[in-house]
């Protein structure tokens, strides 16, 4: 047996989420989180750059999956479809952790400083997706707009998926939202 319990970071993440749900983000100190995880405050800050980051440590995995999906898409596929498929693939990353995602989303919604961090992560995701699109030949301006559209689709889909108690999986929600965007685009054609 090691000198310490393994996976301190995981324990910290779990403790933080539990405490944020139990008593709220502001009412939870880093010392509380560390205490519940069985480490000191200093150790918390070795794993996470700040108090908010403990909720966002998994965001890289989602981004990697989406970028990979864009990179590996068939060359002849239209850019819009590439993005929609990639966002659906990103959905699979969360599929197994719906309850976790629900609690985490509720915590984020409860405090502005967590929303700020979420927006920064989504902006990073968008930038990474845009870069991946450029690398497969999509024009500069189009890449940025497509990536932002894709992230917007993902956000809308995620909200519905988290709210819906029932069956639909996240990838399906992404495709549904993409379909609605097509309909809206058809309904309000660009003028002039």
């Amino acid at each position: 047996m090691g000198r310490w319990e393994p996976d301190a970071a995981g324990r910290l993440r779990q403790a933080a989420l539990d405490l944020f749900v139990e008593r709220g983000y502001e009412q939870t100190t880093v010392a509380d989180i560390a205490g519940r995880a069985g480490v000191t405050e200093r150790t918390f800050f070795r794993y996470f750059t700040d108090k908010r980051e403990v909720l966002f440590a998994g965001a890289n995995q989602l981004q990697d999956r989406i970028v990979a999906a864009i990179t590996e898409a068939p060359e002849e596929q239209a850019p819009y479809d590439v993005v929609v498929d990639a966002m659906a693939a990103g959905g699979d990353v969360l599929e197994e952790r719906r309850e976790f995602a629900r609690q985490r989303a509720a915590a984020i919604a409860s405090h502005a400083s967590l929303q700020e961090r979420e927006l920064l992560k989504l902006a990073a995701l968008s930038a990474a997706a845009a870069q991946a699109l450029r690398e497969r030949g999509v024009a500069e301006a189009a890449a940025g707009l497509l990536a932002e559209t894709g992230v917007a689709l993902f956000r809308v889909a995620f909200e519905r998926w988290v709210a819906a108690p029932g069956t639909p999986d996240l990838a399906a929600c992404v495709r549904e939202a993409a379909g609605e965007l097509r309909a809206v685009a058809a309904e309000y054609p660009v003028h002039r």
Copy 2:
């Protein structure tokens, strides 16, 4: 003459921007800002909820202008055109303060926590624009997407306007970006 110099908030804003440019955001303490403005730290926190907010106090004015432009647009105007015009109108708010806007943008670009705050403000702007669109009868989903598109246009236009040393005004940059979006949309039609 009053007991204190007038416009403490304005002095704090100016002192903060100057110091952020001179020595950087992190190297500037709230006590520094307050000192240069001739007040105490406590007074700083009476005017601004936190250190970042001192750079964003003017954001409401921009949002109000854009929302008003949407609300007052001719009823028969197509939603996309309403949004483009509103963002151009928002540009007029900044037109007289290009140098100020440049310095402020540079400061924000220099530190992630300021970018977070900026993203939150833009999200609020988007939400307010979407609400204004709904109130003039634009459908739920379309309102959200149009508002986000409009904010994206404004961001792109702002970046170019701030970078360009020369003549173009911000409203013109917004319209130019909107024209490019039309072109991109035509180039990559939605499939299926």
